[in-house]
Symmetry: C2
Subunit: 205 residues, 2 copies
């Protein structure tokens, strides 16, 4: 904790620095994947952007597949956290759902969140693909659970939770394809407006 300005870093500082570098690699990679696509981005490109050489990336992450897997994991973890947080909230099922959806939309405007929806399963190698799918399924289940809760307590119009889940997820995932980070509106505003629009559809009349 007592960070002296000594040129000799402590073990703690060094491990923190290592983590920061690893993160920087992921951040650079995910930006380029989102801009140019995974297959159009070589690890040489990523390394060049960071001003290092390719083996450096291999030093921090095993291989290209790992890099992508870590990126999507970071996005999916955010979503999972958002789901857990929403479910723990007081209020009606509809309230919790709206909270979750809003956060979901925001995450889709984040680098790692965008990567999740822009990454096709097949881009990953079999093992990673399995993990990726499992995580996505968890999100799906969480969403369906929230919907089912709302329908059960009457705060949501009755219907098929699975179908509604697909519709909502689709509408929000799509953000990751059209949203420009340089746009005029703040992510927060977009999220709110979009969720309000969607809410008209599932709230009872």
């Amino acid at each position: 904790m007592n960070d002296l300005d000594s040129p000799f870093p402590t073990a703690r500082q060094r491990s923190r620095e290592r983590a920061a570098k690893r993160e920087a690699v992921l951040r650079a990679a995910v930006r380029m994947f989102n801009e140019r696509g995974f297959h159009q981005t070589s690890l040489d490109d990523v390394a060049a952007r960071l001003g290092v050489s390719k083996p450096t990336i291999y030093h921090y992450l095993g291989n290209k597949d790992q890099v992508l897997l870590e990126c999507v994991k970071l996005g999916l973890t955010q979503l999972l956290d958002a789901a857990a947080a929403s479910r723990a909230l007081p209020g009606t099922g509809a309230d919790r759902l709206v909270t979750f959806l809003t956060r979901y939309a925001e995450i889709n405007m984040d680098d790692f969140g965008r990567c999740v929806v822009r990454t096709r399963d097949e881009a990953l190698e079999p093992d990673s693909r399995t993990k990726f799918r499992a995580l996505k399924r968890q999100i799906d289940d969480q969403l369906r659970g929230l919907i089912a809760d709302g329908m059960a307590d009457g705060s949501l119009a009755p219907g098929d939770p699975k179908l509604l889940g697909f519709a909502l997820a689709g509408a929000l995932n799509w953000i990751g394809h059209w949203h420009e980070p340089t746009g005029a509106l703040a992510p927060n505003d977009i999220a709110r407006q979009l969720v309000t629009t969607l809410a008209r559809g599932f709230l009872p009349r």
Copy 2:
């Protein structure tokens, strides 16, 4: 027109056969692109599936980029046709929109339609990418136009046509990612149910 069963095909038959072969290449390619992904599918693979060799594909289509471009064009053309047909229909703006959305959903369960939503712009080479984007923008414009019409004649709840367009397009495009052609429900049923769900959101109360 008078197809004799002579072993000597007429010029008309031959050109029809050529078109059929070209189509078969595209059909085989798009199926494999959808299943395994564009980058994971080599033209050798496609050729093998058809029982021919790679140069045969190059004989009918210039290169891999062309193959993909033709596939997405076939999907986009269907969407454009659907938009034109819907706009020509009598009834309220909302009626026309619902018709279009239903057809839109169905197309996303078709081989070529799925290819459209599963294809990232960057997979195409610059020229093709420009064409691809231009076509997609046309669809977007059509959708927004239908929405604006409905809002203007009062058959749709007022709101931001652009945002609603994104929400609807997203919900329906997503079908191309989750729908399994082998599923229990018929595409038609899925389309109808999904659009009904969405319509709850944009019809006036």
